[in-house]
Assembly symmetry: C2
Homo-oligomer: 123 residues x 2
């Protein structure tokens, strides 16, 4: 029982069913804020934001850490640490194949965040 099921219901959606309307339409519940804030925080660092964009725009939907690291000034261990932050936030998935680790975006959560930020579509 170290992982209560209630903490994942917003992150495991099938990517086509945003849980919540845009925040300009309806005030957000505290529980929603508590679950989604870590995702925004994870995107709140320039290195992670660029990492996320490289992963999300990778041809084939995935990219090797070895192709990410050389694009930044910081050390490899720092990149790894940032990737873990993105993983913990539910924004990316990692898979090891042979010596290399490949990352891919989880579009479900991205869509949640995008929907939340969408301005009210009043005509």
């Amino acid at each position: 029982m170290s992982k209560p099921a209630a903490s994942v219901n917003l992150l495991d959606q099938p990517a086509e069913t945003p849980c919540c309307p845009p925040m300009a339409v309806q005030r957000m519940e505290q529980a929603t804020a508590l679950q989604l804030a870590p995702a925004f925080k994870a995107l709140g660092d320039p290195v992670r934001l660029q990492l996320m964009s490289m992963i999300a725009s990778a041809p084939g939907g995935e990219i090797c850490v070895c192709d990410l690291t050389p694009s930044f000034e910081v050390s490899g261990s720092t990149i790894s640490h940032h990737l873990k932050t993105l993983r913990d936030a539910g924004l990316v998935d990692a898979e090891r194949r042979a010596s290399w680790v490949y990352y891919r975006a989880r579009p479900g959560l991205m869509l949640q965040l995008a929907t939340l930020l969408t301005p009210a579509a009043d005509a």
Copy 2:
């Protein structure tokens, strides 16, 4: 010359012209990441995320600080500090009228962020 003009070109858009395609479509430039990361960071706290949603969804488009503060457990000075963070990030505007201060959302930047997070719309 203490404020180079190059630092504001992403935040002062007329709200209907997102500067950048979704990050799933095209890799983000470092300069873009440096300018937009603070906005995501500002949304990366549960209190600020809820504040932002209360402001963005306020009837009439604005809301008084006196209507925000009672909704949270934290002190008034902490709320004020969070509001300043949202202001500095370019997400909200403040206006004083008599004894009260009213906040309203800046939909331009919200749209930028939403666009960036939108999944690639490949058919």
